[in-house]
């Protein structure tokens, strides 16, 4: 698997798209920092970008990579290599190269700006870690979608729908159900609903850092325990890992049974 990962990674690191992605983040970091001149504000804006854009790019890039490398995949399939190694290798190759673009692209302007001497360093690191998780999660979901759909137009469609659902629609339904059932105790429900969407999960993880003062304003023992102790942080990370592992398992399973 490592060999495949290595080659996919090399291939991607030299592709135009990685550069575009990298330059985009570089530019974003520079604009946010040097036009605003305000680190805390930049971190908040960055959070919105990471939570929305990283999943979108991960999804589209994952689907695109899969479809574009189909014939090559077939060549690999004829080699004495395990199937799961091929797909997991490609997946990790894509996710790793996207993550590198993200971390280096955003990291460079912030390092030059002097993030290491700032109290925002933890907020920023948390943002990057969350961004990395989201990349891995959504690339994996994209691979699952692409593996299950031969038709690439369908595949792209489902991928975009998935993103739209996770990023916007889910929260709309979530909000409506909270308002509709407001007479019932909702804190458990809302935490569970958050855990079930990686975008919300990442958002809450960052909220724990940025908006802890607001989050602590609410009664309800479950919220208190979640937000007030390291329990919330640990649980969120465990769930993020879970969100990487489950789709990865599906890649493995679908790849094992699929015909090419």
């Amino acid at each position: 698997m490592l060999k495949i990962l290595k080659y996919s990674f090399y291939d991607l690191m030299r592709s135009r798209w990685s550069y575009v992605y990298f330059l985009f983040y570089l530019l974003l970091g520079i604009v946010l920092l040097f036009l605003n001149n305000d680190l805390s504000k930049a971190v908040i804006t960055l959070m919105n970008v990471i939570i929305i854009l990283v999943p979108l790019i991960g999804t589209i890039f994952g689907v695109m990579y899969y479809y574009n490398s189909r014939e090559f995949t077939e060549l690999l399939l004829a080699q004495p290599v395990k199937r799961s190694s091929i797909f997991l290798g490609q997946y990790f190759g894509v996710a790793t190269s996207l993550t590198m673009s993200l971390i280096i692209g955003l990291g460079m302007p912030f390092v030059f700006y002097g993030i290491f001497n700032s109290s925002a360093i933890w907020d920023f690191s948390l943002l990057l870690i969350t961004g990395a998780f989201l990349t891995f999660i959504f690339t994996a979901l994209a691979f699952v979608i692409a593996l299950s759909n031969e038709n690439r137009i369908k595949g792209f469609g489902y991928a975009i729908l998935l993103w739209l659902f996770m990023a916007v629609i889910y929260d709309g339904l979530f909000l409506m159900s909270l308002l509709y059932f407001e007479d019932y105790p909702l804190d458990k429900f809302s935490l569970v609903a958050t855990m079930l969407n990686p975008v919300d999960l990442s958002r809450v993880l960052i909220l724990l850092k940025l908006d802890i003062s607001a989050l602590l304003g609410y009664t309800g023992a479950v919220f208190q325990k979640f937000f007030g102790t390291s329990f919330g942080l640990i649980l969120s990370f465990v769930m993020l890992v879970f969100w990487v592992v489950v789709p990865t398992f599906f890649i493995w399973r679908i790849a094992k049974r699929k015909d090419f």
Partner: protein, 236 residues
């Protein structure tokens, strides 16, 4: 060498292979023929483990293929469409495949010489023409010394000289006692090289034997007419 027993495969509602029984002896060139959609490629892919049969069994040298991947070390496969990661250079791709196979004995330099690929070695695969890509594809296939070679439409996109070189290459491999499976639409090419043909029709083996046997069975003077008569008989 290859034993196929009662092989079934369907994609959705579309039954592609409906009970294939086939045994291919070691040594010689076998051509798998059939109209579009007859199941040629599916059969080849089943042998390669890329398509998983619904039922039936395939074994190579007495060993079942199920849940095995190392046997592919003994197969060289030329896929129908050559498309490689665009950002790799030709020599990187060759090194990569060697790396994946962990194989030392290769004839890549000889083959690069044969197909005159030296000027392209440092170019990215994305910038190569279709024909050149097919040559790279051929190098990748023939550079290993495996006892079984599977070629899916090997002639597509080749210029006449390369075509000729390919033919010689196939013959020289046969001389070494290898087993070669070929699919092709170009009947003259098949007629020239094949020792035995397998004709697939609607997922079943319609005919297996030599070309002269086919001619005498269909009572046609030449190969092309023999094939045509099979098709017209089946669609009549």
């Amino acid at each position: 060498m290859i034993e196929i027993k009662d092989l079934y495969k369907k994609f959705g509602k579309n039954e592609v292979l409906k009970g294939i029984d086939l045994s291919i002896k070691e040594g010689g060139i076998f051509s798998i023929l059939g109209p579009n959609g007859s199941g040629k490629t599916t059969l080849i892919k089943a042998i390669l483990g890329m398509v998983l049969p619904d039922s039936g069994e395939i074994s190579i040298n007495g060993k079942s293929l199920k849940n095995d991947f190392k046997y592919r070390d003994k197969i060289d496969y030329l896929p129908q469409i050559a498309n490689f990661p665009g950002n790799l250079k030709v020599n990187e791709l060759i090194d990569m495949i060697k790396d994946l196979r962990a194989s030392q004995a290769t004839k890549d330099e000889e083959l690069i010489e044969l197909f005159k690929l030296q000027p392209f070695l440092n170019k990215k695969l994305a910038n190569l023409s279709g024909g050149t890509k097919q040559k790279v594809n051929l190098v990748l296939t023939f550079m290993f010394d495996s006892p079984l070679i599977i070629l899916d439409e090997p002639t597509s996109g080749l210029d006449p000289i390369s075509h000729l070189r390919l033919k010689n290459l196939i013959f020289s491999e046969k001389e070494k006692g290898k087993t070669i499976l070929v699919t092709s639409h170009i009947l003259s090419f098949v007629e020239e090289i094949a020792d035995e043909i397998v004709f697939l029709l609607e997922g079943k083996i319609y005919f297996k034997g030599t070309i002269s046997e086919l001619k005498s069975k269909t009572e046609q003077p030449d190969f092309e007419h023999a094939i045509a008569s099979i098709l017209s008989a089946s669609y009549a």
